[in-house]
């Protein structure tokens, strides 16, 4: 296994290449410029295509076209750029195109700030475009996780023939860490997948009995009534609740307080948890690894009779992730928050302080 020291954005791009990504389109926006820059250099080496779009709107439309040819393809952007991409992201969900979208998020709303933030939680998990579609959403908390999740995202996109979303942030994207890179997908594997995708791809019918039609309200190159498509998508989202939930817990069994967070905040929160435990507090930790589908089960399994509260730590004001926690906890325990926003990084000491306050409140 290859261990290298890499910046988050570059590691994501390299992981994508190794996963078989052979197309990238994107538009410059901080803090994710290292992704398109890396792809522009690396894709030609593996016979792939890099296209700098004239805008995020165009870049996402390019991704739609590339995905429709049946190859593994990706885009990335940040927050307000992702908003511009929401048009084609909706089309790709509408037309069932397997692609990967990475949001290296920053402060908001609007142009916000270029510093890291977690203010795109609702956008990523609930409303990435019009029409009520959902996507699998990974939330890495280290560069290694960003690598591993990017690699897996391509497989899941192909498995479900649907866009898969990675929600990271400027912190993880700009940070350098040692990472173990996954193996290169073989050309034979990718060729076989591309061949299988010819069953629906739009590349000229080439003697197929029927022409392939890709548009919103088609599945696998064949038209279907829109309501039927909506229902089938919903069934898939429900299946994800069984098959795709991913989370980690630590010390929740005898916990009197739970600290819960996702992404980079979870990394900081985990460190707060270990300090609190050393000081004698019975603190448990829950971290959704995918934030959609939301791991409700992790919170359902808690022993609420022991709990003094649940502390949600996130870099968003007003909170967003906290609402999903509240929805599953249903007032069975007091919920506290530790929040930063607008590009300010959450501090471990602030999490510890908020945890102690909640601990003592009962």
């Amino acid at each position: 296994m290859e261990r290298v020291f890499m910046k988050g954005c570059q590691a994501i791009a390299e992981a994508a290449i190794r996963a078989g990504c052979r197309f990238f389109a994107g538009y410059p926006i901080t803090p994710q410029n290292e992704i398109p820059e890396y792809f522009s250099r690396r894709l030609p080496e593996v016979g792939g295509v890099f296209l700098q779009g004239e805008s995020e709107t165009a870049s996402a439309a390019m991704l739609y076209g590339a995905g429709a040819t049946g190859i593994r393809a990706m885009t990335s952007s940040s927050s307000c750029g992702i908003s511009l991409m929401s048009e084609a992201i909706g089309w790709m969900a509408g037309a069932c195109i397997p692609v990967v979208i990475c949001n290296v998020s920053r402060g908001g709303p609007g142009i916000g700030s270029i510093q890291p933030s977690q203010q795109d939680y609702f956008q990523a998990t609930k409303a990435s475009g019009n029409g009520g579609f959902r996507m699998l959403v990974f939330a890495p908390s280290t560069v290694q996780e960003a690598v591993d999740m990017t690699y897996r995202a391509f497989d899941l996109a192909q498995k479900y023939k649907y866009p898969v979303y990675i929600l990271t942030d400027g912190f993880t994207g700009e940070m350098m860490e040692p990472v173990v890179l996954p193996p290169m997908r073989s050309e034979e594997f990718l060729a076989a997948e591309r061949k299988a995708n010819e069953a629906w791809a739009v590349r000229g019918r080439g003697g197929a009995p029927k022409a392939h039609k890709i548009r919103c309200g088609t599945r696998f190159g064949v038209r279907c009534p829109l309501e039927q498509k909506n229902k089938e998508d919903w069934e898939m989202y429900e299946r994800w609740k069984k098959d795709e939930i991913e989370y980690e817990t630590d010390g929740t069994e005898d916990a009197e307080l739970i600290i819960t967070a996702y992404g980079i905040s979870a990394r900081i929160a985990r460190s707060a948890v270990s300090i609190l435990r050393k000081e004698g507090y019975k603190v448990g930790f829950i971290r959704p690894i995918k934030i959609h589908p939301f791991p409700e089960i992790a919170y359902e399994q808690l022993d609420y009779s022991r709990l003094r509260g649940i502390l949600c730590a996130e870099m968003s004001i007003p909170p967003q992730f906290t609402y999903d926690v509240e929805a599953v906890v249903r007032k069975r325990a007091p919920i506290g928050t530790c929040l930063r926003s607008g590009g300010e990084i959450i501090e471990r000491s602030a999490i510890i302080e908020a945890a102690k306050k909640l601990y003592g409140a009962k």
Binding site: T57, A58, M62, Y64, R205
Partner: protein
Amino acid sequence: MKKIYARPKGLYRNINGYCPGCLHSAAGKIIMSVLEEMDLLDRTAMVDGVGCCANNDNYMDLDAIGTPHGRACATASAIKRCSPETIVITYQGDGDLASIGLAETMLAANRGDNITVFFINNANYGMTGGQMAPTTLLDMKTTTTPFGRNPKEHGYPMDMCKILSALRGPSYIARVTCIDVPNVRKARQAVKDALQHQVDGKGFSMVEFVSNCPTNWGLTPLESLRFAKERMLAEYPLGVYRNL
């Protein structure tokens, strides 16, 4: 007996839903007959825009992808680059190509992406009920210019052939019309030349069809042809603008 005319192979055997007298169907028929003649039907992917253009998918037996409004050239560029053996065409209206998709059109042309754009200019947004388009003529009444297009308020009609000809990227640019038989023949030749540019790998090609919209112009089909001939062609001169 020698067969001299037949329905193009690639058209489905159904009745098209375009309004009576609309020249969309003439453009579609020409494109399909040329693709058949050049033996490209099996290699072609059509990227259709939003609006009346999107209807083509119901009539043309081609691999096809519907794109968000204005983004056809971006999607087409990506398909072509990922699958260079595919003949990639777009079919777009004036609002799609020259307004909401102006950046996508200009930048695909500027990159010289090896795609062929078919642009139907009928001077209004047809599908949505006849609003002003970038190509609406001066003084022309639309549902959003009820007193006529006034340059001080609404700007001037945009001549896309001239605008794109200012770029170095495009390889072939022509403007044609299907309002009469001699012009249908010329249109057919232009479609063939544009596609040949793509086959030869020369880069971006576009054929603009000066078209009509009897329904939203409030004219009979025959009157609409007369209007197109007298007014539209005065603003949008026919001819080959670029042929490298």
